[in-house]
C-alpha cells in the first residue's frame, strides 16, 4: 500500500555526464594501460567530497565533548524512519529506498559522549561558534565566496546513521578554485570547489544483519566540513593527486582532527552517457586511481548493456508488474517452490526445509546478459543481488541464483521446470530468490526495478568500496529533494568580525609556501612534502638562508624526526635548540653532512647545551687533520691484515667506517676519503 503512495522525484538531471558520446566500441582495459587521452575518450570525469572532522571542543549542536571514541554501552534506543517531503514538495528516491528496507535501527548510547540531543529527544542548542569559525577559515583557504547568513538545513538520511533521520548541515561558502599543479595534465590545471558545508558527523555502524542495523553514537554530532569539488579530475592519477591536495589544504587550517576516521572521502564518477555515481568511504588516496578506473569501466559496460537491450527491443513496460497484490502473482514472477522441490542444490533445499518462500522472476530477452562482466570478479547478476541484499534485506547466503550459471547451482533440468512455471521464452533470463515471504516480495520488485534501470544505463547510486577496489550498491543516490530547512534553529547572520578573523587566519596558502621553499633552493618534491609536514613551522622558524643548509635541514627533519617521535616519543625540538646547529652549518663551521647526526644528539642528549653538542661536530682545521692521521694510525691492522684479502673498495669502506664517525662535520667525507685512499695506496696489492 505504501509503495504506491510515496512517489519519488526523478533523478537529478544535474547528475548526468555532460557528454553523451559513449565510446561503445572502446575495449576493456585493466588499470594501468590507459593514457589521459583514453580517459578523455571515455568522457571520464570525477569530483571529490572530502569530509573532515574539526578539532573543536564540543559537538556542533550540543555541548557533548567532540572527538571521543568509546566501546562502552550504557543504554540503547530503537527507532524507525519514514520518508518525509522536501521543502519543494517531493520525496527523495533514496529516502523511499531506505523506507522499503523496514529496518529496526538500534543506537548504542554511552553517558559521557552523548546527551538527549543526539538521541533526538532534545532540540538543538546553538551552533558551535568555534566550528563555524574554522569552517569560515577553511572556506577562505579554498578561495570560496561566503554566504552572509547560515541557514541550517536538514539533510535526510533514512539509513539510520542519524537518529533524527536527518543531518543538520549549513552551507558556508560556494564557488572557489585552487591551483592543481600536481595534475598529470600540466601545472596550469585548477580544481574548482563547488561548495563547503558545515555539518554534524553521523553514527558509526556496528552491524547490519537483515532488518536490524546497529550504530554507535559517540561520533554523532562531531562538527565536520564537507568540501565538494566540481568534476575537474580527468584521469585516475589526478583523482588521487586531487584528493591529497584537498586534504592538504584542509589540514593547513591546523584546526582539524587527525587519526582514523577523522577524514573520509567520497568520489563522484561518470563517463560519457552515464550519470554521477558516488563511491563512499575511501580511506586512502593510493587506492583511488584503480577504484575510479574500475567504476569507469563498470559504467561503460552498463551503457553497452543498455544499447544491447534497446537493440533487442526490451522496454520498461515489459518489466513492469502491478503495484498491488503479491509480486509472484504476475506475468513476470511465480511461486517457484514446487518447481524446485528435490532440486538437489543445497541452498535451495535448505530454504525449502526452513519454510522460506521462493520466487522465480523472468527478465524478457536478458538471456546471456546476466553473466556479463562489469567489474573484476563481478557480473551484471551481482548488480541484481546487491539491490536485493540492500533493499529486501534477505539474510540467507546465498539468497539468489540466476540462469546464466551453467556449471554451478541449479541443474539444467531444474531450470527447465522453472522456465515452464514462468512460461518464459528461451531468450528470457531467470532469477530464483528465497527468504521470508515479505522480503521476497520486495526482492522480486527490486529485481524488476533494477532491470528497468538497465534501460537507462547507469543507475543513480551511492556505492561502497571494497578492499579490492570494486564497489557494491549502498543506496540510491540522494538528491536535492532530501533537503529541508531546520525549523529548530534560527538563521545565523555571519558577523563581519568573524570573516575578518578568518581572512587573517588564512595566512600563506600551501602552494605559495611551496613556491617559497623552492625559492630557497629545495627541490619541488622536497618542498611539497615539507609543506605538509608537522615540522614545517619549525623549519620556517629556523629560516635557513642558503640552499645547502635549507636542503640539509629539510632532509634531516624528514629522515630523523619521524624516527625520534616514534622511538623516543619526543616532541618536536624547539627552534632555539636547533638554531646554533643551523648557524654553524651556515657559517661553515660544521659541515652539512653532520646535520642529521648532530640533530640526533640534540634530540637524545636533552640535558646537554646545544652549543656543546654542536661543538662536537665543529671543524678545527689542523687539529682535525691530525686527528685523522692519528685515527688512521690506530687502524694499521686494516692495512696490513685485512686489505690484502679484500677488494680495494671494500677495504676503503672498512677504513672509512672506522674513522669517519669521529670526524663527521669536522672534515668533509671527500677529504677523509682521499686521505684513506692515499693511506691504502701504500698497502700491498691484493694477491692475484
Amino acid at each position: 500500500m505504501i509503495r504506491n503512495l510515496f512517489k519519488a522525484a526523478p533523478p537529478d538531471p544535474f547528475d548526468l555526464n555532460p557528454r553523451t558520446d559513449t565510446p561503445l566500441d572502446f575495449p576493456f582495459h585493466d588499470y594501468g594501460h590507459l593514457t589521459p587521452d583514453d580517459y578523455d575518450r571515455l568522457g571520464f570525469i570525477c569530483g571529490l567530497e572530502v569530509h573532515q572532522q574539526l578539532a573543536t571542543r564540543s559537538k556542533l549542536f550540543c555541548r557533548c565533548p567532540a572527538g571521543r571514541s568509546t566501546a562502552r554501552v550504557d543504554g540503547e534506543v530503537l527507532r524507525h524512519m519514514r520518508p518525509t517531503l522536501s521543502e519543494l514538495g517531493q520525496y527523495d528516491g533514496c529516502a523511499l529506498m531506505e523506507f522499503k528496507t523496514r529496518k529496526d535501527i538500534v543506537y548504542l548510547l554511552e553517558r559521557s559522549t552523548v546527551c538527549t540531543y543526539e538521541m533526538d529527544d532534545t532540540p538543538p542548542f546553538e551552533i558551535d561558534e568555534e566550528a563555524v569559525r574554522v569552517a569560515l577559515h577553511v572556506s577562505r583557504l579554498f578561495g570560496l565566496s561566503l554566504v552572509s547568513e547560515l541557514q541550517v538545513m536538514r539533510k535526510q538520511y533514512l539509513d539510520g546513521s542519524i537518529p533524527a533521520g536527518f543531518q543538520r548541515s549549513a552551507m558556508i561558502a560556494v564557488g572557489g578554485e585552487i591551483p592543481f599543479r600536481e595534475s598529470e595534465l600540466g601545472r596550469d590545471q585548477v580544481i574548482r570547489i563547488r561548495q563547503l558545508t558545515l555539518e554534524e558527523d553521523s553514527c558509526r555502524e556496528v552491524s547490519d544483519v537483515g532488518h536490524l542495523i546497529t550504530f554507535r553514537t559517540d561520533r554523532l554530532g562531531t562538527p565536520l566540513v564537507e568540501t565538494v569539488t566540481e568534476p575537474d579530475l580527468l584521469t585516475p592519477l589526478d583523482v588521487a593527486a586531487g584528493g591529497r591536495l584537498l586534504s592538504r589544504v584542509v589540514h593547513t587550517s591546523g584546526a582539524v582532527r587527525r587519526g582514523p576516521g577523522a577524514a573520509r572521502q567520497d568520489v563522484n564518477v561518470s563517463i560519457a552517457g552515464g550519470r554521477r555515481v558516488e563511491i563512499k568511504g575511501v580511506a586512502h588516496h593510493r587506492g583511488l586511481p584503480r577504484l575510479v578506473h574500475i567504476e569507469a569501466f563498470r559504467q561503460l559496460e552498463l551503457l553497452k548493456l543498455r544499447a544491447e537491450l534497446l537493440d533487442r527491443g526490451v522496454t520498461k513496460d515489459q518489466l513492469t508488474i502491478p503495484e498491488v497484490g503479491v509480486a509472484w502473482e504476475s506475468s513476470l514472477a511465480v511461486d517457484a517452490r514446487r518447481a524446485l522441490r528435490g532440486c538437489g542444490y543445497p541452498p535451495v533445499a535448505d530454504a525449502l526445509a526452513r519454510g522460506d518462500f521462493i520466487a522465480a522472476v523472468r527478465l524478457p530477452r536478458f538471456d546471456d546478459l546476466l553473466g556479463r562482466r562489469l567489474q573484476p570478479g563481478m557480473t551484471f547478476a551481482h548488480e541484481f543481488a546487491d539491490r536485493v541484499r540492500v533493499i529486501a534485506c534477505l539474510t540467507a547466503r546465498p539468497f539468489m541464483i540466476s540462469s546464466h550459471l551453467q556449471d554451478y547451482g541449479l541443474k539444467a533440468s531444474t531450470w527447465r521446470r522453472v522456465r515452464a512455471a514462468l512460461s518464459a521464452e528461451s531468450r528470457d533470463a531467470m532469477l530464483v530468490v528465497w527468504g521470508a515471504a515479505a522480503d521476497v516480495d520486495t526482492a522480486v520488485r527490486e529485481i524488476l526495478i533494477r532491470a528497468q534501470d538497465a534501460l537507462d544505463g547507469v543507475p543513480s547510486e551511492t556505492r561502497q568500496s571494497y578492499g579490492d577496489l570494486t564497489t557494491g550498491l549502498e543506496r540510491i543516490l540522494p538528491g536535492p529533494q532530501r533537503m529541508y530547512p531546520d525549523t529548530d534553529t534560527p538563521p545565523l547572520p555571519v558577523p563581519e568580525t568573524w570573516i575578518v578573523a578568518a581572512d587573517e587566519a588564512v595566512g600563506e596558502l600551501p602552494w605559495d609556501r611551496e613556491d617559497r621553499y623552492v625559492a630557497t633552493g629545495l627541490s619541488r618534491s622536497v618542498a611539497a612534502r615539507l609543506v605538509d609536514a608537522p615540522w614545517a613551522d619549525l623549519f620556517d622558524a629556523l629560516s635557513p638562508t642558503g640552499p645547502e643548509s635549507a636542503g640539509a635541514l629539510a632532509h634531516a627533519f624528514e629522515t630523523r624526526l619521524p624516527h625520534h617521535r616514534r622511538t623516543l616519543g619526543a616532541e618536536l625540538p624547539s627552534a632555539d635548540r636547533l638554531r646554533p646547529l643551523v648557524a654553524a652549518v651556515e657559517a661553515e663551521s660544521v659541515h652539512p653532512q653532520a646535520f642529521a647526526t648532530a640533530l640526533d644528539d640534540l634530540m637524545r642528549d636533552a640535558g646537554v647545551a646545544p652549543d656543546e653538542v654542536v661543538n662536537r661536530y665543529a671543524a678545527r682545521g689542523d687539529v682535525d687533520r691530525a686527528e685523522l692521521e692519528r685515527r688512521l694510525s690506530e687502524i694499521e691492522w686494516v692495512r696490513t691484515e685485512r686489505a690484502p684479502n679484500l677488494p680495494r673498495d671494500a677495504a676503503h669502506r672498512l677504513a672509512m667506517g672506522l674513522v669517519m664517525p669521529a670526524l663527521l662535520g669536522r672534515l668533509p667525507a671527500q677529504v677523509v676519503g682521499s686521505a684513506v685512499d692515499a693511506w691504502l695506496g701504500d698497502a700491498p696489492e691484493l694477491a692475484a
Binding site: K7, V77, E87, L88
Partner: protein, 464 residues
C-alpha cells in the same frame, strides 16, 4: 509595473527595496552578484520573524543560504519556479468491514507542513493528507476527520474544551466506533482532564494523541502515535478518555494513560507522558493491546454518554513558594477568582503568613483546594500542625489529584453548581472519573535515579 506585495512574501525593507529594484520576486531563479561572490538559486519566501536584512536563496544543491541586502550588487532574474509544498492527497479508501473512527484536529504536530510565515511547521489534516503521509491508517479503519481548530496547544482554552466535548458526544451519537483527538502535547493533559469530566460514561474509546517530533521529520513519533491511537479507537476495548503516546523513547510501544492521571513530564522526550501515582491502563502497538491495569470501563454499544460541557474560567492555580506574601492571594480574590487550587509543599502546606489571606478569601466565598507540588503522594493535612490549621481555615484537601486536573475540575464543578458552594465542594471531593485513587500502588511512583549501579544494569538490558 511593480509586483504585488505577496510576490515578496515575508520580505521587509531594506531587503525588500533591493529585491524590487532587480524585480527579483519570491520563486524567481536568480544569479546574485554580491561583494562576497556570485550565488545562483531560487528566491524563497522569508519568515516574518527572521530579520529584514537577508534574501534567502535555495541553491541547486538544495541548501538555503541568506545573502545580506547590502552585499548585493546586482541580481539577474533567470526564470521562475513556484514550489508547492503539499502532502500528496489521496482519497482515503473506504471499507465497510472496518470500524469508523472520527478524528478531530485541534492543531499540533500530528501532520504538518512548512509555514513560511513563521518558518515553523503548520498542521496538515484532511483525511487525504493524512492518508498521503500515513497510508497504513487505511488498514485500521475508515477515518473521517474534522478540523475543529488550528491552534497550538498553549492557546487551547475554555471555548475549545466545550466545543470539543460537544463534538465528541455528537460523534458518539452518530455511531462512530472510536474518537481520536489530535492535540498539541503541551496542554494535552489539561484537555484530557476536561474531556474526562465533560464527557462521562463514554461507550467508546476517546483517544488523545499528539507528537513530540513534528511529522516532517523522518524519525517523528507522529505516525506511530497516530497508528496506535487510531487502532485503540477503532479496536480497543477501553471506553475512557485516554492519552496515547510513546511508552519508552524507543519506537517500541505506546501507553494508554487515563485522562485524569496523566501529565507531560519532559519538555522534549518522546516518552514525555506519564501516569502519575498509578500505572497506565495499557500498552498498545498497532494491532495489539495489553492491559496493565484492571477496573477500566469497557466498550459498550448501549447508553449514550453524559455531556456536561460547562466550565467557569474564574479558577486558578497558586503555586506556593517559601516566603510567599499574602497579597498574592488577596490579589487573586480581588480579581474575582472564584476557585483557587493551591499546589502546596510536602503533604499540602503553605506558610502561616497566608493564613489571614486564606481566611479573607474563604469569607468572600472563594473555594480553596489543596494539591501537591510533589505530584506523587496524597495531601495529608492532619499530620502536621500547619496542615491542621490550613484545614481549619476552610481549605479542602484533594487527595492525590494532580494540580492541573484539580484546576480543570474546579472550573467544571463551579460551572456545574454555580450557586451551590456545598455541592461544588462535595463534587470536588468525590472521585468522578479516576482523578483520585484510593490507593497508590508501590510502582505508581517510579522515578529511578540514573547512574546508580542497579539502574545501569537495568538500562543495559532494556531499550529506554
Amino acid at each position: 509595473m511593480s509586483a504585488p506585495d505577496d510576490a515578496y512574501k515575508g520580505y521587509r525593507d531594506p531587503t525588500l527595496s533591493t529585491m524590487r529594484r532587480f524585480e527579483a520576486t519570491v520563486w524567481s531563479k536568480v544569479r546574485a552578484h554580491t561583494t562576497r561572490g556570485t550565488f545562483e538559486g531560487l528566491v524563497l519566501p522569508r519568515s516574518e520573524i527572521a530579520d529584514a536584512e537577508h534574501v534567502v536563496l535555495k541553491l541547486q544543491s538544495g541548501y538555503n543560504v541568506g545573502l545580506r541586502h547590502d552585499t548585493i550588487e546586482n541580481i539577474e532574474v533567470l526564470g521562475y519556479r513556484e514550489a508547492v509544498y503539499r502532502v500528496p492527497e489521496e482519497e482515503f479508501p473506504s471499507d465497510p468491514t472496518k470500524p469508523r473512527v472520527r478524528l478531530f484536529g485541534t492543531g499540533g504536530t500530528i501532520a504538518s507542513r512548512l509555514d513560511y510565515r513563521t518558518g515553523a511547521v503548520i498542521p496538515a489534516f484532511t483525511p487525504g493528507e493524512l492518508y498521503g503521509s500515513v497510508p497504513e491508517l487505511a488498514d485500521i479503519c475508515n477515518l473521517e476527520t474534522e478540523k475543529l481548530f488550528g491552534v497550538f496547544s498553549e492557546n487551547i482554552g475554555r471555548e475549545h474544551w466545550l466545543t470539543l466535548a460537544e463534538r465528541v458526544v455528537e460523534a458518539i451519537e452518530e455511531g462512530y466506533d472510536g474518537v481520536v483527538v489530535g492535540h498539541g502535547t503541551d496542554t494535552m493533559h489539561h484537555t484530557a482532564a476536561a474531556l474526562s469530566f465533560m464527557v462521562q460514561d463514554t461507550p467508546i474509546p476517546i483517544v488523545m494523541v499528539g507528537s513530540q517530533r513534528s511529522s516532517d521529520r523522518p524519525s517523528s513519533d507522529a505516525a506511530r502515535n497516530l497508528l496506535a491511537a487510531t487502532w485503540t479507537a477503532a479496536h480497543g476495548p477501553i471506553a475512557e478518555v485516554m492519552v496515547c503516546m510513546f511508552g519508552p523513547t524507543s519506537d517500541t510501544y505506546n501507553l494508554l494513560h487515563r485522562g485524569t492521571r496523566v501529565r507531560k513530564m519532559h519538555s522534549s522526550y518522546r516518552s514525555t507522558f506519564r501516569t502519575i501515582g498509578d500505572i497506565p491502563l495499557a500498552m498498545v502497538t498497532e494491532g495489539h493491546l495489553s492491559p496493565l491495569k484492571t477496573g477500566w470501563r469497557e466498550r459498550r454499544s448501549d447508553r449514550p454518554p453524559q455531556l456536561h460541557a460547562v466550565w467557569d474560567e474564574r479558577v486558578t492555580i497558586l503555586y506556593y513558594y517559601p516566603h510567599m506574601n499574602p497579597d498574592v492571594l488577596d490579589a487573586l480574590v480581588g480579581c474575582g477568582y472564584r476557585g483557587i487550587v493551591i499546589a502546596g509543599t510536602g503533604l499540602g502546606h503553605v506558610n502561616t503568613k497566608l493564613f489571614p489571606a486564606i481566611e479573607r478569601a474563604t469569607a468572600a466565598g472563594v473555594q480553596i483546594y489543596m494539591t501537591l507540588q510533589t505530584l506523587w503522594g496524597f495531601v495529608q493535612m492532619q499530620v502536621y500542625e500547619t496542615g491542621r490549621e490550613i484545614l481549619a481555615r476552610g481549605v479542602l484537601p484533594l487527595a492525590n489529584m494532580l494540580p492541573e486536573v484539580a484546576f480543570i475540575k474546579l472550573g467544571w464543578a463551579l460551572a456545574m453548581h454555580p450557586d451551590d458552594p456545598d455541592a461544588v465542594a462535595a463534587l470536588m471531593q468525590e472521585n468522578v472519573t479516576g482523578e483520585m485513587t484510593e490507593r497508590e500502588p508501590h510502582d505508581g511512583y517510579l522515578l529511578f535515579q540514573g547512574g546508580v549501579p542497579e539502574m545501569r544494569e537495568l538500562l543495559s538490558r532494556i531499550r529506554s
